[in-house]
């Protein structure tokens, strides 16, 4: 039997083709609208003019800044930053996940505690400094020496600057400075 002459089969094939085209075009539209949004992982992340660590720094972006990916190279992604500025960022300084709200509590204060936290406690993560009072209280109740408590405070107070870290990576040819 010659199937190609069967009008029912012809109609079926035509409608399947139309459906397939519709599906593909629908998927195409969906992907076009699906521009990849990534988030800057750490503060003072450099947005650079080219996909090279030695290229000019256009601006620095703060942690959590959302950027749209334009192009990808081996180590860098070209992105559009807020305000429409385009530049390149070392790819491992970008994340698909928005940064966690570091200051967040577990959120059942009303249910369990019934009181609002102190302003310091409920502030953003970056503003939380020093050993938590409850940790110090716990240590003292267990008879742990003040030296151990102070050691944690010193550990928390020890800082390395973004500039120092960048220089360290540069001399070690690490991160975006890798050849």
């Amino acid at each position: 039997m010659n199937n190609t002459l069967n009008p029912l089969n012809m109609a079926m094939k035509r409608s399947l083709l139309v459906l397939l085209l519709l599906t593909l075009s629908g998927l195409g539209l969906a992907s076009a609208a699906l521009a990849e949004t990534l988030y800057v992982k750490s503060s003072a992340t450099k947005l650079q003019a080219a996909d090279s660590a030695s290229s000019k720094v256009i601006k620095t972006l703060s942690q959590g800044t959302a950027v749209e990916v334009v192009k990808k190279s081996d180590k860098f992604y070209q992105v559009t930053a807020p305000g429409g500025v385009k530049g390149w960022i070392f790819k491992f300084k970008l994340s698909a996940k928005a940064p966690e709200a570091a200051g967040g509590s577990s959120g059942l204060l009303d249910a369990l505690g019934g009181q609002q936290m102190a302003a310091k406690e409920s502030a953003s993560g970056s503003s939380i400094r020093g050993l938590s009072p409850i940790s110090e209280q716990h240590a003292k109740s267990k008879g742990i020496s003040q030296e151990s408590i102070d050691a944690v405070k010193q550990m928390e107070a020890f800082k390395v600057s973004a500039k120092e870290l960048d220089e360290f990576m540069k001399t070690g040819k690490l991160g975006e400075y890798a050849p």
Partner: protein, 328 residues
């Protein structure tokens, strides 16, 4: 024109494809991919959800289940049951960052108290902080503050406590041969924090049995509960050790973080091999709280392929020698 059953099937397939594509647009697609990549071992109560991701997940649950229901692929009873299960899971509240820091800070005090005080060498402490910060910045949880300290003990030990506290002993620094190994060891400890291994263990433990959440306010009112939590988790971290699977996971993620920063990915693996041959390793807390070096190496072996093309990445042995060796 009337559609036959094949045409209806094709139409349903096309709608499903379109529905799937649009649903994937509605929530964090990158995040979903990441979820799919996650190893199966950790329990489902991972507490790293971002506020931004939360509403998107609700949409995913309702959207896909609703779509399935409307297409007749899932009956209403099953759909309701699934929706119920999803909302039951949401009832578990992850431990918040402030509570995490309070727990981690208490454990950090214990680390100094039990395993030697701080090693008094600022240059060395700075070096460890620089390597640690570089690795933490490319980890999966770079938004919190990480603090690194050297313990003044000859036993080769390393610890991480929740909230970003990382410790490495002088004895362990002596065993390491290069910066890539140091980055791998610190990466392993950072991974315990990014993957919230201790917090997961606390949430499954006896101290919090019957509770769905802990808050600083509640803990401040009930110091007995806080004491119980710290006692329980310190026993696990410092004596019994975390679940083996969590250690393997920390090895895997630690290797990955060091690699992302541009270090040779063999660093952690090489150190574990050295630890396996070292007599010092026997007196280390590693032997009582970690799987055997052989088991750890065999679990890491599967990861090797991934880094094969990057075998030329540096180990930075000279910088390590110049900064650490001979200065301890």
């Amino acid at each position: 024109m009337r559609f036959n059953k094949w045409q209806w099937t094709a139409l349903a397939f096309a709608l499903l494809l379109l529905g799937g594509a649009q649903a994937s647009q509605a929530f964090d697609f990158g995040g979903l991919l990441k979820e799919l990549e996650k190893p199966k071992t950790p329990p489902p109560r991972e507490s790293g959800q971002t506020p931004a991701a939360e509403p998107a997940r609700k949409e995913q649950d309702g959207g896909l289940l609703g779509l399935g229901e409307s297409l007749g692929l899932i009956d209403k009873k099953s759909s309701d049951l699934l929706k119920g299960s999803v909302s039951t899971l949401k009832a578990f509240q992850p431990i918040g960052y402030e509570e995490e820091r309070a727990i981690g800070g208490s454990l950090a005090v214990q680390v100094f108290n039990r395993f030697g005080g701080p090693y008094p060498n600022e240059a060395l402490t700075r070096y460890v902080n620089l390597v640690g910060r570089a690795v933490a910045d490319v980890s999966d949880r770079p938004e919190i503050d990480y603090h690194f300290a050297i313990l003044n003990t000859e036993h080769p030990n390393a610890f991480a406590t929740p909230g970003g506290y990382v410790f490495i002993s002088v004895g362990l620094l002596r065993l390491l041969k290069n910066e890539a190994e140091l980055a791998g060891v610190l990466g392993h400890e950072i991974a315990h924090i990014t993957r919230k291994h201790a917090l997961q263990t606390i949430q499954r433990g006896q101290a919090l049995k019957g509770l769905t959440s802990i808050t600083l306010t509640a803990l401040n009112k009930n110091m007995g509960l806080f004491d119980k939590v710290i006692d329980e988790v310190s026993e696990i971290l410092f004596t019994r050790g975390l679940d083996k699977e969590l250690e393997y996971e920390a090895d895997k993620f630690g290797t990955e973080y060091a690699f992302r920063m541009g270090y040779n990915a063999e660093g952690l693996k090489n150190f574990i091999a050295v630890l396996g041959q070292s007599h010092e390793g026997e007196s280390s807390i590693f032997s009582s709280t970690h799987p055997t070096p052989g088991d750890r190496l065999s679990h890491l072996a599967g990861e090797g392929e991934k880094y094969k093309l990057h075998a030329h990445y540096p180990v930075l042995a000279q910088r390590y020698k110049a900064t650490v060796q001979g200065k301890l």
